[in-house]
Symmetry: C2
Amino acid sequence: MKENTGKSKYVVLGMLARMPQTGYTIKKWIENEYSHFWQESFGQIYPTLKKLVAEGLAVSFEDSETGKGRGRIVYSITDAGRKVLLDWLCKEPEIEKLRYEILLKVSFGENTEPEVLLGHLDDFIKRNENLIKDMNGYIEHFDLLKAQGTDCTYSQLTALSGVYMYSAMRDWAVKAKNVISGKEDDL
Amino acid sequence: MKENTGKSKYVVLGMLARMPQTGYTIKKWIENEYSHFWQESFGQIYPTLKKLVAEGLAVSFEDSETGKGRGRIVYSITDAGRKVLLDWLCKEPEIEKLRYEILLKVSFGENTEPEVLLGHLDDFIKRNENLIKDMNGYIEHFDLLKAQGTDCTYSQLTALSGVYMYSAMRDWAVKAKNVISGKEDDL
DNA sequence: TGACTAATATATCTTTGTGATATATTGTTA
DNA sequence: TAACAATATATCACAAAGATATATTAGTCA
């Protein structure tokens, strides 16, 4: 009974554990700071929030004081929700799941000209360089927050994982280019 | 109109481009050599094979000569199938998608004791060490095949990506452990 | 001031993908 | 020869992604 799905619930709980917020801000937060290792769609987030309320793990209230938006719904985690989150945190994390289309194309490389792959690898290298810069920007930003007394070690560590991961893939792509173009023989 | 789904078709075509085979062997091949960057389930593979035949991109025939299994169905790629595969290979690969549950748990780390995360990171480091060994095993295996005259550069390169990726994540986890346990301050 | 545009916000639908399970045969081995 | 593992196909329920519809608010700029 290996279950590697149904994590949205815990992601949303984890986000609510930081601060009460709306489905929209949860989505934006994941998009901005989690995109290198996780993603959630609105189609998952909104139904999940409703389920959490139904299960007593979160409570919702309409933010009518400011009158902002079309029925802006703010969600807060409950004590029961924190317990569920904690239980999940203690369980051994399931094995990660990756989908790298570029590796698929390299793997099927014999069906095309080397130039096609070299082009893809060039784009890939550039994109990874940019992502490394972005991640380092986050890390510096967290350093500033730290200097102001806010503890964000864990967020900083996840950003650091991005630097490691993107750097590794950039290095691999450079190596792959050299091998494919015949500049290097050995792996 | 960004479409980052519906790749199963091309994965299956790419597998059939290597050699005619059954849905089962496609699944096993992906499980064994692609698992670090791609995964497909039976629930995708069998319907995809039927669609490919319906679209004329593959042909099927029952392997009755050996009489093995319950209606063993072998699929072959057609010229039309090779053309579709080639067109896809030339298109820029879509951005990769990762789901690392351990990073989710680190990110929500303030909700639990550091010891919980340190334990997860230990398991993670061990698992990555083993995966690096496995990947290096594949690379050596491909070296042997190369020595026998079989060109498997592209397969070897995808295996190499696994070494780079798993090494990066192991290194990150070691660093994260040091930071969380207070042995290291700087990132 | 009004007109446009971008950002905020919720909701839902279809397609795609996962994991589990059912079923049956063949090969191995104790 | 009984038990078990591996091979093989098929399908279901549920999870997840991506697209789209809708509406409000905030900013900007002519």
